[in-house]
Each structure stands twice: as structure tokens, then as C-alpha cells.
């Protein structure tokens, strides 16, 4: 694929392999390093209105080479301070997708306006924050809430808006449809799966927060199933994420229906160079698969 020939909706990127949100995303310099390592673009840490220190440690638990749990608790410097990080990343040439989280449509919309002013190339809405209405549930599990948030952001900014979908739902495609209907430009799928680790000798959860989110290779089959079902029901592009470590993994997401992918946990387990390695290898897979370009491979595993 030629540099810059690749697109998610109206957005042009040098390649379709992005750094996922929450990984190397607290500092602008780290975002720039991830871009330098070969990412097509980088997604920022999810930013809220006020600074948040997140949950106490332990915030991560490695389960094995196949997966890990985290419960960071959305630490972030807040929307007032974070623009300086984006500025640093941009100064070093990195296209940044700004990730946001809020408690409701209004907060999302005002964050979106602030984020838009930083020069990000798109917004990604992290809809996995606690939902006031439903006890123990995430805002992003409720199609009505998704619709409301996306609509509010859509009318607040002109940037591309990506809605990031949770796997903790009975109907990922329904959530994606809600986002599409409200004007989202793309669906990012998926965030981590709700999970728990208990230390048997101490008879307590390992993570300070209790439950956390599963990421890494074990999440891949779950993410693929979500992308698969979303592809069957929406027409806007899908950005696949969950357990991608190799170009083969990324290609599987493309075949399932993704038009771009994000890599998270593998940046830790395989080093940041994994971003470039996956991008180059994906290109090879597409060619060896006999497709003229990536667009033709998107969703190719679906029965025609």
C-alpha cells in the first residue's frame, strides 16, 4: 500500500494499524514514539473533564502470554492540561485520534469541542464508563445512551467521530447501529471484556478495583465475533481491536470486516516496534490473499 493511500471514512492515514487508547497515551512524546515505530495513527488516552488519578495499584495482572487484566480507572490529566501532550505529539508529526470519556451526552459534547481545538484528526468516544442510570453497567451498554452521546458529539464538532463499543453486551451490532444512526463515522470494536482475578492464597481480588478488563490474545476471538456481527449490520467503517499481536491477527480482523485495526497489549508484550511489524505484515497478507488492496479484503470472510 502506498503511503497515505489508506482511509477510514474521510480520514487518510499512512497505514491502517493504530495504537489503541490507553497504551502509551498519557504523554505526547510516547504517542509520537508509537507513531515513529510505525503506527498509521495513534489514539490518545481517554480524557475526561477533570484530572483523575485512577484506581490504586495493583492496576494490572498478567494471566499468561495469552492475556492480562487491567483496571486503571481512567487516569488522565483532564481536558485542561492534556492539549499540551497532543501539541507535543503533533509537533513530532503524529496524527492523533483524541479519545474521550464522560458521564453523559453533554459532557461528551463539551469535551469533544475542547478536543477538536487541539488539532486531533478524529475523536474516539470511549463509552465504557459507569452509567448513572443502570446499576453496575456501562453507558456504552445502552443503545439509547450511545445514540444520545454520539448525536450530541456529532452536532458539536465536524471531525470524524468513532464510537468505541464494549464487548460486555448481548448485542454489539445493536450498539453499533445506534452509533451509526446517530451519525458516527466509524465503530471501534472492542474495549476490554469484564473479568476478575482472585489471589487464592490471600482470598481477595488481585486488582485494587476488584474487577478489571481482559486484553491480549484471549480477547481476539471475542473481538473478531463482535466485528463480524457489526459488519453484518452497519455500513460505516469498523476499526478492529482486541488481542492483535501479529499481522495475521490484524488480517483476520480485516477479513471479519474491519477497515483498520488498533494494537494495545502487544505494545507491552512485543515492544512498540510491533506496530510497524503488523502494518508491514498486513500489507503482505492482503497481497498474498490475492486482494488488489485492503479495501477488497474487508469483510471477505463473510459468505457472499
Amino acid at each position: 500500500m502506498a503511503e497515505g493511500s489508506f482511509r477510514v471514512g474521510s480520514l487518510r492515514l499512512r497505514n491502517p494499524v493504530l495504537l489503541a487508547s490507553g497504551i502509551w497515551g498519557e504523554s505526547g512524546r510516547s504517542l509520537a514514539e508509537a507513531y515513529r515505530a510505525g503506527a498509521g495513527a495513534v489514539v490518545s488516552k481517554s480524557i475526561g473533564t477533570l484530572p483523575r488519578v485512577g484506581y490504586p495499584n495493583p492496576t494490572v495482572e498478567v494471566l499468561g502470554p495469552w492475556g492480562m487484566l487491567n483496571a486503571m480507572g481512567l487516569p488522565n490529566p483532564g481536558m485542561e492540561r492534556y492539549p499540551e501532550e497532543i501539541a507535543e505529539a503533533r509537533a513530532l508529526g503524529a496524527p492523533v485520534v483524541g479519545s474521550l470519556f464522560g458521564k453523559d451526552a453533554e459532557e461528551f459534547a463539551s469535551l469533544a469541542q475542547a478536543m477538536a481545538r487541539t488539532g486531533v484528526v478524529a475523536l474516539e468516544l470511549n463509552l465504557s464508563c459507569p452509567h448513572a442510570k443502570g446499576y453496575g453497567s456501562e453507558l456504552g451498554q445502552d443503545p439509547d445512551a450511545v445514540r444520545e452521546v454520539v448525536r450530541a458529539v456529532r452536532s458539536a464538532v465536524s471531525l470524524p467521530v468513532w464510537a468505541k463499543i464494549t464487548p460486555n453486551t448481548h448485542d454489539p451490532a445493536g450498539l453499533a447501529e445506534a452509533a451509526e444512526g446517530a451519525g458516527a463515522d466509524a465503530i471501534t470494536a472492542i474495549n476490554t471484556a469484564r473479568a476478575l482475578a482472585i489471589d487464592p492464597t490471600l482470598a481477595r481480588p488481585v486488582l485494587a478495583h476488584g474487577t478489571g478488563g481482559l486484553s491480549g490474545p484471549a480477547l481476539k476471538p471475542i473481538g473478531l465475533a463482535c466485528v463480524w456481527s457489526i459488519f453484518e449490520r452497519v455500513r460505516i467503517p469498523i476499526v478492529g481491536v482486541g488481542g492483535i499481536t501479529t499481522a495475521e491477527d490484524a488480517y483476520e480482523y480485516i477479513l471479519a470486516g474491519a477497515r483498520a485495526v488498533q494494537v494495545g497489549t502487544a505494545v507491552s508484550t512485543h515492544g512498540v516496534s510491533v506496530l510497524g511489524t503488523v502494518a508491514r505484515g498486513l500489507d503482505d497478507w492482503v497481497r498474498r490473499g490475492g486482494f488488489p488492496d485492503l479495501d477488497h479484503a474487508v469483510g471477505a470472510a463473510h459468505p457472499r
Partner: protein
């Protein structure tokens, strides 16, 4: 992967510092750190002050709530350990000046000993607020042929004033292939300038907020580096690339704050 182990010994080192030892067979090198989980409280990065053999040790200074509680831990308490993480000191230099400030000496002691065992000449300068807060004075003095120079803020032991002054004098009067340091960042920043002025290779063990320790979460972002995976030991050349060194750290929210 985290394992839960019993504390074997709680050794008081100074009125505000204790060493915890615990069974932990994975091999480690001086300069590396582990994540120490005090269940129900916090998980903190701690350099290994004892790196050899199946029993490892960390030396902890009471700073905040969690580390204050460590002073009162008892034998048998179960703690979680994961690691070792990070890059160790390069032990090849033949003449090393080791400059420790406060609890920073924790990570320097095993490095100094290992270099000494390999035949290097090790000169030590220790700083502390007062005499009784000097860490590992005896341990480091017992290295054969080694010499421990001391400075205290209140003059209650050794020179009255900052250990950086002692270090500068040593740099001026001796020949060194490396300067190793760990301590308050402004102290390290000063030493870096001293070492650079004298063309002595400089290595510092740096502390930053840590969460994952896996090069994932960015809590320890440090210029183009992550302290957990690229550090905690950085060379002077690396530190040139880090604007924040001596100027800013990041708090748990990722905001830049004074160090």
C-alpha cells in the same frame, strides 16, 4: 506473574527505613526493581537491595501512608511480588564512584558490591539528612579496600552539607570510569552536570510514578522512554533526551508536576 510470599525478615536500617527479605528465586541484577504489593494497601516499585540467591530484599523508606505502614510489618506477613523489571547497571566499569542520597542507596548497594566482587574499585559517597539516616554505611564500608565518604544536612556525620560537594571533590581528585547515583532528582541532576564537565560516564536510577511496570500504561513516561522498561537506570546520554529530568515528574493522573 505475581506471586504471594511471606516476609522472612524485617530489618530496621534507619529510624525511617527497613529492609524486607522474602523468598523469590527468579534471577535479578543490581538496578532492577520489583513491584511490591501490600494487600489492601498499594503496590509500589522497589529496587532490589538484595539481588543474589533465592531470598531477595527491598529497602523501603517511610514516605507516605503505605511506606509508613511497612515499618510496622511483621515476619510472615504475605506480600505480592512481581518482576524483576527494568534494566540493570552495567557492571563493567573498573573504577566506579557511587553517590547515594537517602533511600536511593538501596539500589546502589548491591550494584557496588557486585562491581567490587568483579574486581572494580568502588568509591562510595553517601548523603543523608542526619547521621542516623545514613543507609547501608556499614554494609558499604565492609567492602574490602572500599571507602565510604559521608555528608549530612545537619553535619551530624561526615561533612556538613550536600553529598554533591563531596562527589565533586572526589571527581576532581580521582579517576573514574563511571558515576552511579540514585537519590533526589535535583541531586542527580547536579551530579550529571559534574560528571559531564569531567567527561565521566554517568548513570542514574530514576524514580517515576509506576502502575503497570510493563511498558503499557505510560504512567512512567520519561521523554522518549519508559522508566519501567527502558530504565530505571539511564545513562547521561539518554538523560540528555529527557527534558523532564530534574524539572518535572508526572503525578498519578499523568499531569506534569515539579519533581
Amino acid at each position: 506473574m505475581r506471586v504471594v510470599v511471606p516476609v522472612l525478615e524485617v530489618v530496621p536500617e534507619t529510624p525511617t527505613t527497613v529492609t524486607l527479605t522474602f523468598p523469590y528465586p527468579p534471577p535479578s541484577e543490581p538496578g532492577q526493581f520489583v513491584m511490591v504489593w501490600l494487600p489492601g494497601q498499594d503496590e509500589l516499585p522497589m529496587s532490589l537491595s538484595q539481588t543474589e540467591g533465592p531470598v531477595k530484599g527491598v529497602t523501603i523508606k517511610a514516605m507516605g501512608e503505605t511506606t509508613r505502614n511497612v515499618l510496622t510489618l511483621s515476619r510472615g506477613t504475605r506480600i505480592g511480588i512481581r518482576g524483576p523489571y527494568g534494566r540493570p547497571f552495567d557492571l563493567s566499569p573498573r573504577r566506579v564512584l557511587v553517590v547515594g542520597g537517602g533511600s536511593g542507596t538501596a539500589v546502589l548497594a548491591p550494584a557496588a558490591e557486585a562491581a567490587h566482587r568483579r574486581g572494580s574499585t568502588v568509591t562510595v559517597a553517601l548523603g543523608a539528612t542526619r547521621a542516623e539516616e545514613l543507609l547501608f554505611y556499614r554494609r558499604l564500608s565492609s567492602m574490602e579496600g572500599g571507602q565510604v565518604h559521608v555528608a549530612t544536612d545537619d553535619g551530624s556525620a561526615g561533612e556538613h552539607g550536600f553529598v554533591t560537594v563531596v562527589a565533586d571533590r572526589l571527581l576532581d581528585t580521582g579517576d573514574y570510569d563511571a558515576l552511579w547515583t540514585c537519590g533526589p532528582e535535583r541531586m542527580m541532576e547536579k551530579l550529571r552536570a559534574s560528571a559531564r564537565a569531567r567527561a565521566v560516564p554517568f548513570f542514574a536510577s530514576v524514580e517515576r510514578q509506576m502502575k503497570c511496570s510493563l511498558g503499557l500504561c505510560d504512567a512512567c513516561a520519561f521523554g522518549p522512554f519508559h522508566v519501567c522498561t527502558d530504565g530505571p537506570v539511564f545513562s547521561g546520554a539518554q538523560l540528555e533526551e529527557v527534558f523532564d529530568f530534574g524539572r518535572f515528574k508526572r503525578d498519578a493522573s499523568g499531569s506534569r508536576v515539579p519533581p
